[in-house]
């Protein structure tokens, strides 16, 4: 078995991120107990957490709660509870897990989660999210605001798009002033935007280290470990410090040629969220082949920065709007995602693409067959397509998934070897 164990990322960063996430849950617990700090629910992708910082408010990310449960194998109970309420087997299981937890009073840490002072739906492409937050508001009785972000239908957002989002951001400011009774601290807002700018630069540098062979980290499985702090602390000093430390640790590994595996056999790009209920099992299936993810689309849900985009403290509102419009994978259209994958495969020189279809998320998955068609037939790059779910343990067929992954890497290996033989 020793061979098959994943050499999981275990730097001091790993510890630090645990501490940061616990601290976050403690603040949420405090909010639940005392009513302060003020809180607002947000969608991870294309969020405007910088606005909350300006009010000293803390974000609640239902997605993070849902995935924490799944990783801890606790998602099925709340999912069933939600289905008893009438949610369909084919509804997004993130939503069902979150609603189910609310109904049953389950939280990832056992601590309390506050009733959000504002349910702020930053609508960036995910229609399910509008329903989700509408239902949350209906259940909790919290105030709901849907910040409508125009979907990316042309190469770049228009001035009208940016103007529209900025107008709504300013409505949110007024709303938060009413709800929190605090006044909008512009300097703190600018400072938050500046922090995001720096975190994005650091995170981007880390992503680019994966272009080296061997890659110092797995840009799917390890990237996910770093994503918690990215979401919760992006607009804070703590975030900047965390990612600076992370970068240094990675650079050190690169310096003495340390990779994820003693020998990196395969480099792959992974598309789609992971099967959180079987996170470790799934990783082992790749570790067995010493296959390292060098890039992933899922790690750009929070933001797509490796191609140069950043927040900009000189134009705080506009750059927040731009981030929501164009710099997160959820609000970018399918063809833009194809392009992102193409660049990963070429610039991060990968051997193949893994598409993980998750039934919950049609935003990610609807049309992945066409994506597969594009990558295999147009780009001529080997692609593996597997299906399960990111939250619902009932849809992971372990034997079948392992069989496909084994077959895929057998084939890659066989091709490499026969190519060498010729």
């Amino acid at each position: 078995m020793a061979e098959a164990r994943p050499t999981e990322y275990r730097g001091s960063i790993h510890q630090r991120q645990k501490e940061l996430m616990l601290k976050w849950y403690e603040r949420l617990n405090e909010a639940a107990e005392t009513g302060t700090p003020p809180t607002a629910s947000l969608m991870i992708s294309g969020n405007c957490v910088e606005l909350l910082e300006a009010f000293g408010a803390v974000p609640i990310y239902p997605e993070v709660n849902a995935l924490q449960l799944a990783i801890r194998h606790q998602s099925l109970e709340p999912i069933l509870a939600a289905e008893e309420l009438g949610y369909a087997p084919d509804n997004c299981a993130y939503v069902k897990a979150d609603i189910g937890c609310y109904l049953k009073g389950i939280t990832p840490t056992g601590g309390k989660l506050p009733k959000p002072d504002l349910v702020l739906c930053n609508f960036v492409g995910c229609n399910t999210y509008v329903k989700w937050f509408e239902h949350t508001a209906e259940l909790t009785g919290s105030k709901l605001y849907v910040l409508d972000v125009p979907f990316s239908r042309e190469q770049n957002p228009s001035q009208a798009d940016i103007h529209y989002v900025v107008r709504q951001l300013k409505e949110v400011v007024t709303l938060l002033e009413e709800i929190t009774g605090r006044s909008f601290n512009y300097d703190r807002f600018v400072e938050a935007v500046r922090c995001s700018e720096q975190v994005e630069a650091l995170w981007s540098q880390i992503k680019h280290l994966a272009r080296r062979a061997p890659s110092p980290f797995d840009a799917y499985f390890d990237a996910i470990t770093l994503m918690g702090p990215l979401y919760v602390y992006r607009a804070t000093r703590e975030g900047v410090d965390f990612f600076r430390a992370a970068l240094e640790e990675m650079q050190a590994k690169v310096a003495d040629h340390k990779g994820v595996y003693d020998q990196e056999n395969f480099r792959v790009v992974i598309e789609g969220p992971p099967p959180y209920p079987y996170f470790r099992t799934f990783r082992d299936m790749f570790a067995k082949w010493k296959a390292c993810a060098v890039a992933s689309t899922y790690s750009t849900v929070g933001g797509l920065w490796e191609f140069g985009a950043r927040h900009d403290a000189n134009h705080p509102f506009e750059s927040v709007a731009l981030h929501m419009l164009a710099q997160n994978v959820s609000n970018r259209n399918y063809l833009q995602r194809y392009e992102q994958i193409r660049r990963y495969i070429e610039e991060w020189n990968a051997d193949g693409l893994i598409i993980h279809f998750v039934k919950s998320c049609r935003l990610f998955s609807a049309g992945q067959g066409d994506m597969r068609d594009y990558v295999t037939k147009t780009l001529g790059v080997p692609t593996l397509y597997i299906e399960s779910d990111l939250e619902d343990p009932r849809y992971f067929a372990e034997a079948q998934t392992r069989n496909r992954i084994d077959a895929f890497f057998e084939a890659l290996e066989h091709s490499k070897l026969t190519a060498r033989a010729v």
């Binding site: 939503v95 399910t128 239902h135």
Partner: protein, 385 residues
């Protein structure tokens, strides 16, 4: 009644014709003028009409198109209409179109828009972002801008400028069209034994393919003749159908529901055809009027989010207005917006104790034994004491 009955058959054929022969004919008669298809639920047809093009409502392939290619592009857990629409493209059924419009109704449809773009690079495929935040004043201005963007694109595709007078005229034509459809629905709610749901359904859905002028006269004729129609009331329960706003149920399923002992006194079939509950104002800047109407005068729908007026209240009113005994949720398999809304609809109906039944369907379905059993059981549970 001869012509009357015949028009039902004609409408059925029109709906069933995947080769869109009728649309081809229009194109030929109009010197190859542009045809713009739009994916359900809603599109600003007035604008398309105003630039001299024919708006055509796409509504899937029904059970007449077996999917050979599209399954490979959209896998499991995706609704049928997304696949049949792509399949029609891959099987060259969409050749007649100069452009296809999508809007922000759901994630699958949105992705389909861009998959079509890739597979048909020469076709004008566009995505309209219809606002989800009606409570913000900004949304009307934004949508007005979005419509102006659309107008520019259509002018480019059609090679012809839009005249404001044409747009005003289009608006009044469609206002009239929606009036007639409303009359048809209220007649049916009044005397469901004189107009079967499937009959009014085909009459309305024919509007997906016909020029609005023609559809208007068809509806007028139908309404005139309905007045004389005779029929004996059946012993049925009054039911409102909710959830079939995008992918359409097979005609046989609608008939089956009626035969099982239901009067369908209201429904949301092809809801785009009766999108506005009031006339779009004619005086103001017409583009603004359309945008403002979308935000303030639209019917409630699972793909339009207006938090000022919850959809479940809308359903409750509909049930009251149509004096319905029950609600039948007719939901396309894998239609996530409908699945989500079902939860809050259900909650509301149980508060006001209105019985309801959930049935899933697929447009390509052609055997209904299970569905029949469920509907009959539902009717029996309301009829037997």
């Amino acid at each position: 009644m001869f012509t009357f009955e015949r028009s039902f058959e004609e409408c059925q054929d029109l709906i069933a014709d995947l080769s869109l022969e009728r649309v081809h004919r229009w194109k030929d008669q109009h010197g190859g003028a542009g045809v713009i298809g739009y994916f359900p639920v809603y599109a600003p047809v007035e604008i398309i009409h105003a630039v001299g093009m024919l708006p055509v409502g796409l509504s899937g392939g029904g059970d007449r198109l077996d999917i050979q290619h599209a399954d490979a592009r959209f896998g499991s857990f995706i609704c049928s209409i997304v696949k049949t629409t792509l399949e029609m493209g891959l099987r060259e059924h969409l050749k007649v179109f100069d452009g296809i419009l999508f809007s922000s109704i759901c994630d699958s449809a949105r992705n389909l828009c861009f998959v079509l773009k890739r597979n048909f690079p020469d076709l004008y495929v566009d995505f309209l972002h219809l606002p989800h935040n009606p409570s913000s004043a900004a949304s009307i201005d934004f949508l007005r801008g979005e419509y102006q963007r659309l107008i520019k694109e259509l002018e480019r595709v059609g090679g012809k400028q839009i005249a404001e007078t044409n747009l005003r005229q289009a608006i009044s034509l469609y206002n009239h069209n929606r009036h007639l459809i409303r009359d048809l629905y209220s007649f049916r709610a009044q005397s469901p034994h004189l107009l079967r749901a499937w009959e009014s359904y085909v009459l309305v859905r024919a509007g997906n393919f016909l020029p609005v002028e023609e559809h208007n006269s068809l509806l007028e004729e139908a309404l005139n003749q309905l007045a004389q129609r005779q029929g004996k009331p059946r012993d049925s329960i009054r039911v409102v159908v909710e959830g079939a706003f995008c992918e359409q149920p097979p005609l046989d399923l609608i008939k089956l529901v009626e035969d099982a002992g239901c009067y369908l006194v209201d429904d949301d079939f092809v809801i785009g055809q009766s999108w506005f509950v009031e006339d779009v104002p004619r005086d103001a800047d017409p583009v603004y009027a359309l945008a403002e109407s979308y935000v303030n005068r639209a019917v409630y729908s699972s793909v339009r989010h207006d938090f000022r007026a919850p959809r479940w209240e809308g359903l409750a009113d509909k049930v009251k207005r149509s004096k319905a005994d029950a609600v039948l949720f007719l939901i396309a398999k894998f239609c996530e917006p409908a699945y989500f809304d079902y939860v809050l609809f259900k909650k509301k109906l149980e508060q006001i104790s209105v019985p309801h039944l959930l049935l899933e369907f697929e447009e390509k379905q052609f055997t209904f034994d299970r569905v029949r059993t469920e509907i009959e059981t539902f009717v029996e549970s309301l009829v037997f004491d």
